[in-house]
């Protein structure tokens, strides 16, 4: 069963657009942000048009409607992750989700299971996006904990050969990405979660690149926390998700203080509401949560397994095509097992910026640069790469256009006749 991409594309108005003087847009940058279907645009604007009021405040009808809409969005995210409603925390982004966790852990008093002290260890990997690296770097600095990490092997997969030394008995947190935003690698979580839980550490999963593209079930993943961003999953910007196991959220202290997150307040002291409210100070991004709900429902209606299969068809086509071009190097797995629809490559003699500019001139949007994963680029021995990333609305013919224009770029920059 393949996706009816032609029909799907009709829901995405931006894909009809022409750019750079009449070129049909070929959008291959969904790893950075996805485009939005009309259903999401409508849901977000309808919230403002019909239901806008501050959720969880006031007793008037609109406040009730806003609360219902916002909590409905929470239920929808819970069903998307096969989680409990009260385990879903809305943030403004996945970056905020991870920072929230790192700061909350940093606030944990002695005796709390999250308290981190000098000599403890925090484990990350070399393939992390800056958003799942720097918050932990900084937490390590603030607490005196040691930061340790998994390297990558030649195929762009995590080197887990020293897992027992890296996740040692002092480890408190293991924060890894589910799928690399540069390499496309999908990481084997079972061995990581098993070892982490053996030593009493919690596992934080950066699911930004996987949640929009793969069916996820938090119980099966066996992780303790998971973050993803709405805007990569057809939703609006300004909305992110943090999922955490209920019993862990109970014990985790809050990070942001203010309205909505309290139980009682006096002039000198306050107590906290239960999760998720404990972590949602301030009037939340309600319209964006409702927009995300529409996005996730859209994905579920199409089917995430089918979406992944479709992206793997495109991935195979691009890997085969790139392999046939002289002077092209692919970074990351060249086989289709345990990988997603993100392919980074370089064309010798043409800097990624120049290649990206050339492709842009032909209407093709790809990402160039270090992709917010500077240490990974260093490990790969490159300063930057060009990245194509796919979604449910991409056509096989768009891969062919990309491949053809890479050839044109080689001729334009004089690296090939």
């Amino acid at each position: 069963m393949t996706l009816n991409v032609i029909e799907i594309r009709k829901d995405f108005p931006i894909l009809q657009k022409t750019v750079r003087g009449g070129k049909q847009l070929v959008y291959l940058d969904s790893g950075a942000t996805s485009q939005k279907p009309n259903q999401v645009i409508e849901a977000e604007s309808n919230f403002y048009r019909l239901h806008n009021a501050a959720a969880h405040r006031g007793a008037h009808q609109l406040a009730e409607e806003a609360t219902d809409a916002f909590e409905g969005a929470r239920r929808s995210v819970a069903s998307f992750l096969v989680a409990q409603e009260e385990e879903i925390i809305f943030t403004k982004s996945a970056t905020e989700s991870i920072n929230l966790l790192a700061y909350s852990m940093g606030n944990a008093p002695e005796g709390n299971r999250f308290a981190i002290k000098p000599g403890d260890r925090i484990v990350v990997s070399e393939m992390e996006h800056h958003a799942n690296l720097i918050p932990w770097q900084e937490l390590a600095k603030r607490t005196g904990a040691e930061l340790s990490w998994f390297s990558i092997d030649d195929e762009g997969r995590l080197d887990l050969s020293k897992i027992e030394q890296i996740i040692d008995t002092k480890t408190k947190v293991v924060a890894v990405t589910h799928q690399s935003n540069v390499l496309g690698t999908i990481n084997p979580l079972r061995s990581i979660t098993t070892r982490a839980h053996e030593v009493g550490a919690v596992v934080v999963l950066d699911a930004c690149q996987s949640a929009p593209h793969l069916p996820l079930n938090v119980a099966e993943l066996d992780v303790d926390f998971l973050a993803f961003s709405g805007h990569k999953a057809l939703g609006p910007t300004g909305i992110g998700v943090l999922w955490g196991r209920a019993e862990l959220l109970d014990e985790l202290p809050p990070f942001l203080f203010g309205g909505s997150m309290i139980e009682t307040v006096t002039m000198t002291d306050s107590t906290w509401a239960k999760a998720p409210r404990k972590f949602e100070a301030g009037v939340p991004n309600m319209a964006q949560a409702v927009g995300l709900q529409a996005g996730l429902e859209y994905l579920q209606r199409i089917g995430l397994s089918k979406i992944h299969d479709h992206e793997m068809l495109l991935t195979e086509r691009l890997i085969n095509g790139l392999s046939a071009i002289e002077d092209v190097q692919i970074f990351g797995p060249k086989t289709l097992n345990s990988r997603g629809g993100v392919i980074s490559f370089s064309v010798s003699g043409i800097h990624p910026h120049d290649l990206g500019q050339f492709l842009d001139n032909q209407g093709i949007a790809v990402r160039t640069g270090h992709h917010c994963a500077w240490p990974l680029n260093k490990a790969l021995g490159v300063q930057s790469t060009t990245r194509a990333s796919f979604y449910l609305y991409n056509l096989e013919s768009e891969i062919d256009v990309l491949l053809e224009e890479i050839g044109s770029a080689q001729r334009y920059f004089g690296t090939k006749k």
Partner: protein, 147 residues
């Protein structure tokens, strides 16, 4: 859009055959600049002698725009007085901010007018300015030292 407006022959020539792209031993100051959005980087050595710019040498890794611009800049500023260099720098920055409306002052900028097309691509202006900002920083450091 015609890409040739951006990738002028002069730019591609300088990219393939950059000038002064070898750090000279003779230097008053060395600076290292990075474009954090893409990772392009440049190291630049600068020395002044008898009130003129005696030597601008550099090394770096980056796209054709950033490397060619550093090459043109290094050739252009060599032998100029700091005042002349400042005037050239300001004229180049003005050109970069012109959004494609200016051809640039050829008498002052010489080959650097080839970068006029860059001003139509906001994402690339920082590339073109990388080497120039490194020079500016190096010059300010020398000035600071002499005070």
């Amino acid at each position: 859009m015609n890409l040739d407006h951006l990738y002028q022959e002069v730019i591609l020539d300088h990219y393939k055959h950059p000038e002064n792209k070898q750090l000279s031993i003779d230097k008053d100051v060395q600076v290292h600049h990075v474009n954090p959005s893409c990772g392009d980087e440049i190291t630049l050595n600068l020395s002044l002698n008898n009130g003129v710019i005696a030597n601008v040498s550099w090394d770096g890794e980056g796209c054709s725009i950033s490397m060619a611009s550093a090459s043109v800049m290094s050739g252009l500023l060599q032998g100029k007085s700091p005042e002349e260099a400042t005037q050239i720098l300001e004229s180049f920055m003005e050109l970069m901010q012109s959004k494609g409306t200016s051809k640039g002052d050829e008498a002052l900028l010489e080959d650097a007018v080839a970068f006029a097309g860059v001003s139509k691509y906001p994402a690339r202006i920082k590339c073109a300015l990388l080497g120039w900002m490194a020079y500016k920083d190096a010059f300010l450091q020398i000035q600071g030292k002499s005070k």
